[in-house]
């Protein structure tokens, strides 16, 4: 499913936050992201990027979680 003009988590600058709209992966990877608290509707704050720019640390439901940019790209968000 491709939503035109949609933002992914990777597009959110450090210090900003966004709300999860959808997760594009399936199977075990999707399950993993859901278990980490990345469910539609949950708010994610971008805390910092590692020196190499990958991974990035996100604050999700009270816990700091590092995600690879490849995974963050699969997470669609809106900034409202």
């Amino acid at each position: 499913m491709v939503i035109p003009n949609s933002l992914s988590l990777i597009d959110i600058p450090v210090g900003d936050s966004a709300r999860v709209v959808n997760i594009l992966t399936i199977g075990a990877n999707r399950r993993r992201l859901l278990d980490l608290g990345l469910v539609p509707g949950s708010r994610v704050e971008v805390i910092r990027r590692s020196p190499a720019g990958n991974p990035t640390a996100y604050l999700i439901k009270g816990t700091l979680i590092a995600l690879r940019n490849e995974d963050a790209r699969q997470i669609l968000v809106d900034t409202n």
Partner: protein, 255 residues
């Protein structure tokens, strides 16, 4: 009969060792609860993967012996990492007398995911909402009675660092083991199409599963194509049914 029931426990009851599995998300104070209950000085610390394998300790309460097994902290029980597999296999296949889930009062939303997953495996669960002191400091009010009501299992609020709530927790664990508490665990209901498949598979699976494996849970794992549960099928009920044949049959079911 009625008279003997109120006497102190003797004989087999007194020598039996009750096993309690200790589960929870990483960094919720599981090891602190473990140390408080057992008096052991297991190392506690704030980094991921600290409890690499399981640690065991014992305690004695109201005339009963308990072995507490500290499992690695996990966000889920989907066996996608070694930690999760250790925790899941113990809760599911080692058949502890009960599972004590510790969660963080300051981020319940994150923690309750694991609680619901454990309730899909077993109804012998007590929830310990830890870090109540920190929650209070942050201005959260945790409604323990509401949680008890919604989850259908005993819930105890604790502040393990200072020891608050621990004696009540021990009493609740004991009441559970003694069969004084009946749980009615909250079950996750999936969408109708999935529920139909779950029920169909569970019904077919039940005769071949040992009665201590929840067939609904087993069906859910099979639907996720996690076949490890089939290794626990007993062949004494039906010698012709091997995990291999069942796997094939399940695959047909899923088509």
């Amino acid at each position: 009969m009625i008279k003997t029931a109120s006497l102190p426990v003797h004989g087999q009851e007194a020598t039996k060792n009750f096993v309690i599995a200790l589960a929870g998300n990483p960094n919720v104070g599981k090891s602190t609860v473990f140390n408080r209950l057992t008096g052991l000085k297991q190392h506690t610390g704030n980094w991921p993967g600290k409890t690499v394998t399981r640690a065991e300790g014992t305690f004695f309460h109201r005339n009963r012996h308990y072995t507490l097994v500290d499992l690695p902290g996990t966000y889920s029980l989907h066996a996608s990492s070694t930690d999760e597999q250790v925790a899941r296999d113990f809760i599911c296949f080692a058949r502890p007398d009960l599972t004590l889930v510790v969660c963080d009062a300051t981020c319940l939303e994150r923690n309750l995911n694991l609680v619901l997953q454990i309730l899909e495996i077993t109804d012998r669960v007590v929830l310990c909402v830890n870090l109540m002191d920190e929650a209070k400091r942050k201005g959260f009010r945790v409604d323990i009675d509401m949680l008890t009501h919604k989850l259908g299992i005993p819930v105890v609020g604790t502040a393990a660092r200072s020891g608050r709530g621990l004696s009540r927790l021990k009493n609740v664990l004991d009441d559970m083991v003694a069969g004084k508490i009946v749980t009615t665990p909250q079950q996750v209901v999936y969408d109708p199409e999935l529920e139909t498949s779950i029920n169909e598979i569970a019904k077919r699976l039940t005769p071949y599963l040992p009665d201590w494996i929840n067939s609904r849970w087993a069906a859910l794992r099979l639907l996720e194509r996690d076949y490890s549960v089939l290794d626990h099928i007993t062949d004494n009920k039906n010698k012709n049914y091997s995990p291999r044949i069942l796997k094939k049959e399940v695959a047909l079911c899923l088509q």
